[in-house]
C-alpha cells in the first residue's frame, strides 16, 4: 500500500513538477532570477525522480498508476517499463544541461520572459510522452510538447525563424491531424485507446486491418521522427532557432517520435521476423541523411542532417525485431540524446565566440579555444562510432544483430554511412578547428584580446557536463547494455507490461 502510494508520486512527478514550475515561472513573469531558480530546481528534482524510477523498475519490474483512480482500460494509465525509464533519465539530464546552458548564453532567457515557462511545459510534454500508456494521451503529450516547441523555435522573432517556423508548425499540425485520424481508426476498430488493452484487441483483428493501422501510425510518427521520406522539414527548420533550443530539439524531439514508433510497433503490432519496410526506410534515412550532411557547408546544417541519418540506425535495430537489434536501438537512442545535444552545444560555443558557424568563415579554433575543440572532438568521435566511445557500442550492437538476422545489405549500408559520418565530422574539424578564418570581418579574425573569444562559464560548464555524460555512457556501457537488453526483452514480450496495466 505504501509502496503503491510512493509509486503514484514518483510516476506523476516528472509531469507535475515541470508544470508546477512553469506556473510559478509565469507568475514571476519579470523576475528572471526567480524564474531561473524555480526552473533549475524543478528539473534537478525531476532528474533525481527519474533516477529513482529507473532503480524501482530495475528492482521490481514494470510500474504503473491509474490517474484519477479510474481503472485501466477506461482511465489514463501512466506506465514505466525499462525502456521508458531509460529514456526518461537521459532526456531529463539533457534537458537540465541545456537549461543551464541557456541561462548562461546572453540574450536567450534574459530578454524572453516566456522562455522558462515554455521550456518547462515542453519538458512536461516529453516526460508524459515517455510515460503514458494510452494512445490518446500520447497525442495530448505530443500537443503539449509541440505547442511549447512552436514558441521556442520562433523565440526572438527573426525573419528566417518565422519563415522556417511556419514550415515546422504546418508540418506538425498536419501530422497531428493524421494522428487524431489514426486514433479514431484504432478506436473504431477496437473500442479502446489504452495501449495494453490495444495489444490484446488488435491481435484479434483481421491482418489487413492490422497492417493498415500499423502503417498509418508509422507515417504519423515517421513525420515526427523525421524518417525517410518524411524528414525534409527538419534540416530546414532546426538550424534557425536559438542554439539551446536547436540543441534540445535535436537531442529530444525526434527521439520522442522514434520512441513512439518503437512502442507502438512492438506493443500493438508485434512481429517475429525482420520488417522489410522498416529496414528499407532505415537504410534510406541513413543514406539520404548523411549525403545531405556532406553537401552542407555550415556546422548547424551538417549536424541537422546527421540527426536524420542517425534516426536510420534506430529504425534499423527496431526493424530486425530481435532482442539483440532492439537492445542495440535502445542503447543507441540512450547515447544519441546527449551526444547530439552536446554537439549542438559545442557548435553554440563556436557561434558565441565567433559569430558564425559557416565552415568557410570560421577557422583555427583549436588554437584559440582548445576546450571547445576538445569537447566537439569527443562528441563527434562518439557520433561517428569510433571505439571506445559510446556510439561504437550502440552501432556494434545493431550491426551484430543485423548479421545475426542475415540482413547483410542493410548492414553494409550502415557501415558505409558510418564512414561518411566520420568524413563529415572531419570536414567540420578541418574547416572550423584547423585552418585559418577566411572572412576577416568576423569577430574572431579581428579579435586580439582573449575576452572576445571567451564564452560564459555556464555555457561551457553545461557542455562539459553533457560531454561528461556521453563519456560516462561509454564507461558504463556494459551495465547500460544489460539494461537495454532487459528493455528490449520487455518490448518484444510485453506480457509483463500488459499484466501490470490491466491487472
Amino acid at each position: 500500500m505504501v509502496e503503491q502510494a510512493k509509486m503514484s508520486v514518483l510516476l506523476v512527478l516528472p509531469i507535475v513538477l515541470p508544470l508546477l514550475a512553469a506556473a510559478l515561472a509565469i507568475i514571476a513573469y519579470n523576475h528572471r532570477t526567480l524564474q531561473r531558480i524555480v526552473a533549475v530546481g524543478a528539473l534537478i528534482a525531476v532528474v533525481a525522480d527519474s533516477a529513482f524510477l529507473l532503480v524501482a523498475v530495475e528492482r521490481d519490474g514494470v510500474q504503473s498508476v491509474q490517474m484519477g483512480a479510474w481503472p485501466a482500460p477506461l482511465g489514463i494509465t501512466l506506465v514505466v517499463d525499462m525502456f521508458s525509464a531509460l529514456m526518461l533519465v537521459i532526456s531529463m539530464v539533457t534537458v537540465l544541461s541545456v537549461l543551464i546552458y541557456a541561462i548562461g548564453q546572453p540574450g536567450v532567457d534574459h530578454d524572453q520572459p516566456v522562455f522558462h515557462p515554455v521550456y518547462l511545459v515542453m519538458t512536461a510534454g516529453v516526460a508524459l510522452s515517455f510515460t503514458t500508456g494510452d494512445l490518446f494521451n500520447l497525442f495530448v503529450a505530443y500537443e503539449i510538447t509541440l505547442a511549447a516547441s512552436y514558441v521556442l523555435i520562433t523565440l526572438g522573432g527573426r525573419r528566417e525563424q518565422i519563415r522556417s517556423g511556419m514550415t515546422y508548425i504546418i508540418i506538425n499540425l498536419l501530422a497531428s491531424t493524421l494522428f487524431v485520424v489514426g486514433i479514431a481508426w484504432v478506436y473504431a476498430a477496437t473500442g479502446t485507446v489504452n495501449m495494453a488493452d490495444l495489444a490484446v484487441k488488435i491481435a484479434q483483428l483481421p491482418s489487413g486491418t492490422q497492417t493498415a493501422l500499423s502503417m498509418f501510425l508509422l507515417v504519423v510518427f515517421g513525420i515526427k521522427a523525421a524518417i525517410f521520406p518524411l524528414f525534409f522539414w527538419l534540416p530546414d527548420s532546426y538550424p534557425t532557432a536559438r542554439m539551446p533550443v536547436t540543441a534540445v530539439f535535436a537531442g529530444l524531439l525526434t527521439k520522442v517520435g522514434v520512441y513512439s514508433i518503437i512502442r507502438t510497433q512492438t506493443l500493438l503490432f508485434p512481429q517475429n521476423r525482420p520488417s522489410t519496410i522498416l529496414l528499407v526506410c532505415a537504410g534510406l534515412t541513413m543514406a539520404i541523411g548523411v549525403l545531405g550532411a556532406i553537401a552542407q557547408n555550415d556546422m548547424k546544417r551538417i549536424l541537422s542532417f546527421h540527426i536524420v541519418s542517425q534516426i536510420g540506425y534506430m529504425i534499423l535495430g527496431l526493424g530486425l525485431f530481435s532482442v539483440a537489434g532492439v537492445a542495440g536501438t535502445v542503447f543507441f537512442i540512450f547515447h544519441q540524446i546527449p551526444v547530439k545535444t552536446a554537439l549542438f552545444l559545442a557548435t553554440g560555443l563556436v557561434e558565441q565566440s565567433t559569430g558564425s558557424t559557416a565552415l568557410s568563415k570560421v577557422g583555427g579554433m583549436i588554437r584559440r579555444t582548445p576546450l571547445v575543440a576538445g569537447l566537439f572532438l569527443l562528441a563527434a568521435l562518439s557520433l561517428a562510432g569510433i571505439p571506445p566511445f559510446s556510439g561504437f557500442v550502440g552501432k556494434l550492437g545493431i550491426i551484430q544483430a543485423g548479421f545475426g538476422a542475415g540482413e547483410y545489405a542493410i548492414v553494409g549500408v550502415s557501415l558505409v554511412v558510418s564512414l561518411l559520418t566520420l568524413f563529415s565530422m572531419i570536414k567540420i574539424w578541418n574547416g572550423v578547428f584547423l585552418g585559418t578564418p577566411e572572412d576577416p570581418t568576423l569577430r574572431l579574425a579581428s579579435a586580439t584580446s582573449e575576452e572576445r573569444l571567451s564564452t560564459p562559464v555556464l555555457m561551457r560548464g553545461a557542455t562539459v557536463a553533457l560531454v561528461g555524460v556521453t563519456l560516462a555512457i561509454a564507461l558504463f556501457a556494459g551495465t547500460l547494455f544489460d539494461l537495454s537488453e532487459r528493455a528490449a526483452q520487455g518490448l518484444l514480450d510485453p506480457s509483463a507490461y500488459i499484466q501490470q496495466v490491466l491487472g
Partner: protein, 150 residues
C-alpha cells in the same frame, strides 16, 4: 482621422459586462453536472473582456483589469495542478476526485466535488490566455492603432 467611440456599443458593453461575468461564474459552478464548466465559463468571461476591447481599445481593457494576464495564467495552472496534488498527498491517486456536500441553510444541501477547483484553474487559464492575446495583438507596445478617443 481619429475614429470615434460608438455610444451605443459603449453603453451596451457597460450593461453586458457584469452580466456576462456573472453568467461565466454560473457556468463554472454548474459545470460538473450540467452544461458548462471551466472552459466554457472562461470563454464567456473572455468574451466580456473582448467586448470591452472592441468598444474602447486596449486602454479600456487595461482600465477594467489591473492584474497582469500572465498572473491569471499562472495562478490558473497552479490551481489545476495543485488540485491533482492534494489527492496525491492524502494518499490517493493523482487527480482522484472527492465529493463534498454542505448544508447551506437557505440554499439547502449543496453538493460539489474537488473537480470544481480544477475547473476554476481551467477558467483562469482560458481567461488569462484571452487577455494575453488581446494585450499582445492589440498593441501593448504603446502604439495602439485602434486607440479610440472618447
Amino acid at each position: 482621422m481619429t475614429p470615434r467611440r460608438s455610444v451605443i456599443l459603449d453603453l451596451c458593453v457597460q450593461a453586458e459586462f457584469h452580466t456576462l461575468l456573472l453568467l461565466s461564474l454560473y457556468l463554472l459552478f454548474a459545470g460538473h453536472n450540467q452544461p458548462g464548466g471551466g472552459f466554457a465559463g472562461g470563454l464567456v468571461a473572455s468574451c466580456a473582456f473582448g467586448l470591452r476591447y472592441v468598444a474602447g481599445g486596449s486602454s479600456a481593457l487595461s482600465r477594467s483589469i489591473s492584474i497582469p494576464a500572465t498572473t491569471f495564467l499562472g495562478v490558473g495552472m497552479l490551481f489545476a495542478i495543485l488540485t491533482g496534488c492534494v489527492s496525491l498527498l492524502t494518499g490517493h491517486e493523482f487527480l482522484e476526485s472527492a465529493i463534498f456536500s454542505a448544508d447551506l441553510m437557505v440554499l439547502g444541501t449543496v453538493k460539489t466535488s474537488s473537480v470544481l477547483f480544477f475547473d476554476i484553474g481551467v477558467y483562469l487559464v482560458v481567461l488569462g490566455m484571452a487577455l494575453l492575446l488581446l494585450e499582445q495583438l492589440g498593441g501593448a507596445d504603446g502604439t495602439d492603432p485602434d486607440e479610440v478617443q472618447p
